[in-house]
Point group: C2
Chain length 527, copies 2
């Protein structure tokens, strides 16, 4: 069986001396698909890095208009190939074609690309700052090396390493991308890279602005992220892998942005529980079961104070969880991860309320699983009891009182999100005021009366948070233009002659409407 | 001899079980001053961290107006104690009282504090971003834990851990500070902390918003920066120490901002050399000798192409360097560092043109030192030949032609700055166009026809750059408001009830003029 070609240095070609090969599975059957992809050697990675470096140099001189055009051509091209993309992504992930892949995730992906194009064209993202008196001018610019994107398994389109949010924003900020496909959906990623590559040529971008490899040995992944030619890495995936890559990159002085794990705690205050336990239970289950629980923002931990309504709430949730799972797990490693997390939680004293077992085939399926634990036991071993389990798995912590709820909040690691449900009038206001400051510093996004699984592509969105949810709480992976800043360096020009300045820093506003901070004032005017 | 008191948790007190003590030296005599400071134990560090955590919680609810008032009171108070500060800083560093300490560095320090106060009061730095349709609102907020500041030896005022730029911006962003004094000027730092502490009480800030310890064992420093209660660390100092702290912090998932080393290359193009070699030589020497060469932005590497003017240029520089050093080195470790760097460079093939020896006492003095090396030899061992030597030490690289100059540029590590001198008309324009893109990505601040030692406190300034100059090229240590962002986390509020939002994200603009990004438009209006 021939191996699928990789895209390196402007050419689709067979991998040179691959160190192995792999075939993705169809999660609905748990059987391998009849197509093989190479595991690339470090020599091939270095070839891609060198081409990426040359592309970074060329992109540095490429007008933002060409970069924006590329992103828009690519979005158009994706829309012309919807059926192919949906077909292969469904095959590789078993995610439903409708509405998930075709009507939700694909439009989100093209929307991100177009928003990134608008940001590139608008140029305000680069925060041009000019001190006319001192003649010092600065802006964000590209990193000077390719951005390596490791995409996750759970969003074959919207977080795809060759088309998703990281890809779009790295390119919009002027960096080439080396896409490292998620081995769960290499075929989907290959189609994206094919379409992107066609658009690159059309837009006049350097040929190595997009490159694709499918897989690496773990030790070669570590070499890649710490390589001197890398600009930055973005990684969305498991915590153990993320931590290893983080250490390798940072030891070499390289940037890495990580999204690693999150249990997305839901705190239900007593007034809300009394007022609307059933609707919260229903929201919780719906949010947990979305994408068969394989969302980074799935609510995996619920905290409430034991009272006359709490046990009934749990039973309502239990009934909802007792229905069969809505879909398949994305891979064997996801199933193994659930089993491992459940074992850790059970060993630490959690009890299974329902579920807890994998289901018979066909395909990779795990029963919806609800656990419970007391606040006392949680506080004895908080690390073990805030395990991320990627699937429809949630643990309910029964605190003995509100004070213990705040202690549970204080014992949380960093998370992407945290939600507080409170009484619709002001009955819980006092409790909210005590809990919020504790939870605020543990999460990137704080929600009221809302489950966290909808991650709107909005300029105000933050998809990030304190470690270990991410590697740096000052950045976001979703929300344009802010998410471009991950892939940017500050470039200052001190006494640089006017004709040598980048257009964004010259006296004349290059677009007529780009926002610049000139002598302390945000303005669209010329100097 | 009694040990000087530390400031922990709102109290000036003797260190509890210190693990040692130290006395600073007077660099002009190389003799110890008759005053001793404790080396704190890790238990004491943990006490400070716990108090800092409580102060972080309290500061989270402190109005920006109180934070701004504190910074302004502190600036005023410093101005009321100029003579004391100048006296002790001169004693501890041997830096000249005039103009350096009193008329240059002290006004810079109070200026930074007042700029930070204005930023805190203005609030625009937090980049409030509001999506009214989705009702998602976000801004930068404090980190949720104390910021540890390790100040450098070379700026006892402007980069002091208890009064300098990092201190001012960490506080302005809403974080408490644990100042780790530079052991070169603990007495200066103690006075700053005393003044700051008085102002804290007056402004109504939590008492542990400023704490001071003087020194730690190296292993305890590593524990400090990786401690779960730390918000972030900022470190300005030597590369070996910086790299050890970086690894310890990042392994624990903690933020650390570093300014570690820079040789600040100066490229002189042929037209400039022909046109004004003497004036460039004079600029170079003046810049190198500022502060006895102990500036982070000292030009330590000069690159030119060998031609009929290059040898004469070197001889002009040599004559300037042959004068005796203008001052003292800040400590024995600085002198040891120069000797070690020179040894490394000589072993790699550099030749001493003048200097190269320490001078007889009194005090710590080293001859102004000029080295030379060919481009061929430089390119054989670029790592050894771009040593930072903190002192009036510079190496001139004689490239065989312009092409080799670009290769030298490509072989540079990340630097804070890089300068290009070119012909005053357009004779060097073609060369500039080839060199600039290579140098651009190696430096934070690119200069034309100017030496890098003036680091203006301007919103457009970037004092940072690619590794190893700093740890992240997207941040700056100088330049308010941008430098506040190092000490900030993104806080998103999704569907949060209006009365629970921070003032900066409520419909009404809290100051009437703070800039916010509302539905894609930067505006000062209310919603």
């Amino acid at each position: 069986m021939d191996l699928q070609p990789i895209l390196v240095n402007g050419t689709w070609r067979q991998a040179k001396s691959p160190v192995g090969s792999f075939s993705p599975i169809d999660p609905s059957t748990a059987k391998s698909l009849e197509v093989s992809y190479p595991i690339s050697s470090i020599a091939e990675v270095e070839e891609a890095l060198e081409a990426g470096q040359a592309a970074a140099n060329a992109l540095f001189k490429t007008p933002p208009e060409a970069i924006a055009a590329f992103l828009e051509y690519f979005a158009d091209s994706i829309e012309s190939h919807v059926d192919d993309l949906v077909e292969i992504a469904h095959l590789e992930t078993a995610l439903p074609k409708e509405p998930r892949l075709k009507s939700t995730e694909l439009p989100r992906t093209t929307n991100q690309l177009r928003q990134a194009a608008r940001a590139a064209r608008d140029r305000s993202w680069c925060r041009a700052t000019i001190d006319t008196k001192a003649n010092i001018r600065s802006k964000y610019g590209p990193l000077g090396g390719p951005v390596v994107v490791f995409g996750p398994n759970n969003f074959p389109f919207a977080f795809n390493s060759a088309a998703g949010g990281d890809f779009a924003t790295a390119i919009a900020a002027g960096n080439p991308v080396i896409a490292k496909a998620n081995p769960g959906h290499p075929g989907t990623t290959k189609i994206f890279a094919e379409l992107a590559f066609e658009c690159i040529t059309r837009a006049g971008l350097p040929e190595a602005a997009v490159q694709l490899i499918y897989h690496l040995r773990p030790e070669d992944g570590l070499k890649l992220v710490g390589h001197p030619l890398v600009g930055a890495t973005s990684f969305t995936g498991s915590r153990p892998a993320g931590l290893r890559l983080k250490e390798a990159a940072e030891k070499a002085g390289k940037l890495i942005y990580l999204e690693m794990s999150s249990v997305n705690p839901i705190f239900i205050l007593s007034g809300a529980l009394k007022e609307r336990a059933d609707s919260i239970a229903s929201d919780l289950f719906t949010s947990c079961a979305l994408g068969t629980g394989q969302f980074c923002t799935k609510p995996g931990l619920v905290v409430l104070a034991r009272d006359e309504h709490s046990e009934e709430f749990l039973q309502t949730v239990r009934k909802l969880f007792e229905q069969p799972p809505s879909g398949f797990l994305l891979g064997q490693s996801v199933l193994d991860g659930i089993e491992s997390a459940l074992k850790t939680m059970k060993n630490a004293g959690a009890q299974i309320v329902t579920g807890g077992e994998k289901l018979e085939g066909p395909g990779l399926r795990f029963a919806n699983t609800l656990l419970r634990v007391s606040g006392d036991i949680f506080l004895q071993n908080p690390a073990a009891l805030q395990q991320e389990a990627f699937g429809t798995v949630t643990i309910v912590v029964f605190a003995k009182d509100f004070d213990q709820m705040t202690k549970v909040a204080a014992a949380l690691e960093g998370n992407l999100t945290g939600s507080i449900y409170s009484h619709s009038a002001d009955r819980d206001e006092n409790l909210y005021g005590q809990l919020e400051p504790i939870l605020r510093r543990k999460v990137g996004r704080l929600l009221n009366d809302k489950m966290p699984t909808g991650v709107a592509v909005s300029p105000a969105m933050v998809h990030g948070g304190p470690f270990p949810a991410s590697g740096h709480p000052g950045f976001t992976a979703v929300g344009i233009p802010a998410s471009l800043l991950r892939f940017a360096a500050l470039h200052c020009f001190d006494n640089v002659r006017p004709n040598r300045l980048p257009a964004e820093l010259q006296d004349k506003n290059p677009t007529g409407h780009m926002c610049r901070l000139i002598d302390g004032e945000w303005t669209q005017r010329d100097i």
